[in-house]
């Protein structure tokens, strides 16, 4: 159909001559009085001026009178109207502030949400600003009546008015945790047009009873507001909901069972009466900070993997057939099938209607979820190494708390020789480039992971490995799928990691400004005159910067302590044991070959550990040079 065919058809629709004639006649006559209104006024005399929206109020102020019949009962809405209590709101709409409950709400309508609870096979709670509600209330006649005169009936529509908690500019949105029946103001209208107001304050409650003159119409109007909101909610919620949202939203409705198969579709594990709380908790945590984290895959993006686990959700009340893996299974309402590459298909079968959607976890969800239910040996059995890792998995391998600015590099040829500080450039670019290579899963115990590696949010081994440090237990690491990519891999690392220069070591700082310092040995050594140039010349023959870890540091009882103090510093008196030592740098040399540097930066101490690996030669040389 072309759009102009739609237009052409509608253009043909016109009022027939007969219809037009009838309508003109009716609209030229006085409007007919509503039957309900005649009943109400049967025993009263009423003078009603022409009703117009604002004009009605002004005219009523002058001439509107109801002569009440029942004693103490009949109140009148407009008798309190006068020019002083007519309020114009910020939108230019007028209403009467007559001390009524409605007036109390109306004065502050912009501070309230209007809630409605619609129940029809399921609760729908909607909220809006209530513009349609106020519009009707401001522009339609009603009378206050006594409780005795008030008649409720079977059907009613209720609106609750609660203070605004959120200002997001939307007209309607779904309540989550609030009690849908909490309120400051409550409006309930029955299908005969009678309605009542309840108002709650901290100290008191009040109620008033009223009746619309056009009873059924008024009820239908408010009913349409409620239904319209419910329809909008249902439309936008269910049609916008993905299948995974539907499943998560109906978690308490179904029983479930789980099966897990290896890459040959051989059943390895099953759990017939599955406690799904752990499964849904996993999904909740997965979407905790991002409700839209599940994104449907396009058909071409979905790739079933090797091993899989399936959870089928079925109606608990439905009679279960005897479950057998190869036999008849209960008809499922939802079927969740997850592969070990984190892709999954979710199928629903509700009311005879089938839907399917494809997703992919960004986490190694297959192992994560399987681990919730199966023993470790089953998990290990199905945790196949060598499967392709997705780009998303590689990107997700890095700890989200890592700042991406500095890293450590550990060069390890079987023996730890120390960490080097490394500067990282464009960490996001680094991750993208690494993820663009092809990776497969590998065993975390692979020793090659820990040879020449960076610690940068993940362990990145220069031999082609990534071991996730993104939290939780990781059952596998990743290695380059293709050996031919190793050079490219290293080039990527080299372009993003820069080892920090030696100037940043404690010795480097000292050397850079060595003329500013005096040199002293500890008191317990009898000293010759110390020639600091000679000392520095000697130390320059050794690597004074490369650090070792505590596990490699081997102290001993025999030490030499060398103090470097700023020239001109006062009070050089000190006692070696336990006293304040005023120094800028301290070098402690052990006869085991180990040594330490300590930097004193205005009371802030930094210590690094090192080793000459010389069996005490330097210790002895220093003694020979400077001790008597």
């Amino acid at each position: 159909m072309r759009p102009n065919e739609y237009d052409d058809l509608l253009k043909k629709i016109r009022c027939s001559d007969d219809f037009r004639s009838r309508m003109q006649e009716k609209l030229s006559a006085e409007p007919s009085v509503e039957p309900e209104f005649e009943e109400i006024i049967s025993d009263r005399v009423e003078v009603i001026t022409p009703k117009r929206r604002w004009g009605r109020i002004a005219a009523a102020a002058a001439a509107f009178v109801i002569i009440g019949g029942a004693a103490g009962g009949t109140a009148y809405h407009f008798s309190k109207v006068n020019s002083d209590n007519v309020i114009t709101d910020k939108d230019g709409n007028k209403f009467v502030d007559d001390g009524s409950i409605y007036a109390a709400l109306r004065k502050n309508k912009d501070s309230y949400f209007m809630k409605s609870l619609y129940v029809n096979g399921g609760e729908v709670v909607t909220m809006s600003l209530g513009d349609e509600f106020y519009d009707y209330m401001d522009n339609n006649e009603s009378s206050e009546v006594s409780e005795d005169e008030f008649n409720d009936s079977k059907e009613s529509v209720v609106f609750y008015f609660t203070p605004m908690a959120v200002d997001d500019g939307q007209n309607s949105f779904l309540l989550s945790d609030e009690d849908p029946e909490s309120y400051d103001f409550r409006f309930e209208i029955y299908d005969n047009g009678c309605y009542k107001w309840n108002e709650k304050t901290e100290d008191s409650e009040r109620v008033s009873y009223h009746r619309f003159e056009n009873g059924e119409d008024a009820y239908n109007y408010f009913l349409s507001i409620q239904l319209s909101g419910a329809i909008t909610y249902v439309l936008t919620k269910t049609e916008n909901n993905s299948l995974i949202d539907d499943l998560m939203g109906s978690r308490d409705m179904y029983s479930a069972y789980l099966t897990a198969e290896d890459e040959n579709n051989t059943l390895i594990f099953q759990s017939l009466e599955l406690d799904t709380s752990s499964f849904f908790r996993y999904l909740d945590e997965y979407t905790e900070n991002d409700e839209d984290r599940f994104k449907e895959l396009m058909p071409g993006e979905y790739q079933p993997g090797g091993c899989s686990l399936t959870i089928e959700f079925y109606d608990e009340e439905k009679e279960k057939t005897n479950y057998s893996y190869t036999g008849a299974n209960p008809t499922y309402n939802y079927k969740f099938k997850l592969y070990d590459n984190s892709c999954f298909i979710l199928t629903s079968n509700i009311g005879g209607k089938e839907r399917a959607a494809y997703y992919r976890f960004e986490t190694p969800a297959f192992i994560d979820i399987l681990s919730l239910y199966a023993e470790d040996d089953i998990v290990e059995r199905l945790n196949k190494m060598g499967r392709d890792a997705s780009k998303t998995e590689i990107l997700s391998a890095f700890n989200e708390d890592y700042n991406g600015e500095s890293a450590k590099f550990r060069k390890d040829s079987g023996q730890f020789t120390g960490d080097t500080n490394v500067t990282v450039s464009d960490f996001d670019g680094l991750k993208d480039e690494l993820a663009s290579l092809e990776w497969v899963t590998c065993d975390v115990s692979d020793e090659n992971i820990y040879k020449d590696f960076y610690i940068a949010g993940a362990i990145i081994g220069r031999n082609g490995y990534i071991y996730s440090q993104s939290g939780g237990t990781h059952y596998f690491a990743y290695k380059l799928k293709n050996d031919s990519d190793i050079e490219t891999f290293r080039e990527i690392l080299d372009s993003h990691f820069t080892e920090n220069s030696e100037e940043t070591s404690i010795y480097s700082k000292l050397i850079a400004d060595k003329e500013s310092y005096t040199v002293d040995l500890s008191d317990d050594i009898k000293k010759k005159d110390i020639d600091k140039d000679r000392l520095f010349e000697y130390l320059d023959n050794y690597d004074m910067s490369s650090e070792i870890g505590p596990g490699e540091f081997v102290p001993s009882d025999k030490i030499i302590t060398v103090f470097f103090r700023k020239i001109g510093e006062a009070d050089k008196k000190y006692s070696y044991v336990g006293a304040n030592e005023k120094y800028a740098y301290k070098l402690v040399i052990y006869d085991s070959g180990a040594f330490t540097w300590t930097e004193n930066d205005n009371g802030k101490y930094k210590l690094t550990m090192h080793s000459f690996a010389d069996d005490g030669k330097v210790y002895q040389d220093i003694l020979d040079m400077f001790a008597e």
Binding site: M1, E5, R14, Q24, K26, S32, E34, T232
Partner: protein
């Protein structure tokens, strides 16, 4: 504006409201009933309109609400064939093609048909439609998209090619 009266409104927008009701119901008799109700309501309860456009928006919204309520009361007979006698009195002629389109429109859920009518026929924009229907702009956009898609799907089932 010239006149707030219902007679003025009917003379100016009677056909518009009739078309709107027809677009949502697919039934000419029902569309007449709704049109009558809308203008008689205005006649009984005059409104103070700022402009003719304001009046038109109010009339459309009232008509749409009434169509909605009628459907819920199950008084609607969407697929009622056009009464021959009635058809003869209309100042138009329905071709078989017109009836096919009419049936397709009538099968659309009301929430789509109202938005499609307001958008394509009355040429309101999304914001204006949202104001008339009392919905958010996002909802209207979504309804329009789905309505078009649904209409297209229904027609394609019948072998029609939906041309944009």
């Amino acid at each position: 504006m010239n006149d707030n009266s219902a007679l003025y409104a009917f003379n100016k927008f009677g056909d518009t409201i009739l078309r709107a009701a027809f677009a949502m119901t697919g039934s000419y008799p029902e569309a007449e009933d709704i049109t009558q109700e809308v203008f008689l309501t205005l006649h009984a309860k005059p409104q103070d309109f700022e402009s003719d456009e304001h009046m038109k928006a109010w009339l459309l919204r009232t008509a749409i609400n009434r169509c909605r309520n009628l459907r819920k009361s199950a008084r609607m007979r969407r697929d009622t064939p056009l009464d021959e006698a009635l058809a003869n009195t209309l100042s138009c002629e329905f071709t078989p093609r017109d009836n096919e389109i009419r049936e397709r429109i009538a099968k659309l859920p009301e929430r789509y048909s109202s938005v499609i009518f307001l958008y394509y026929y009355e040429e309101y924009n999304i914001r204006e439609i949202a104001s008339i229907l009392g919905k958010s702009e996002n909802t209207v956009s979504s309804l329009l998209q789905r309505g078009r898609k649904k209409l297209k799907t229904e027609l394609e089932k019948e072998g029609y090619i939906y041309e944009t």
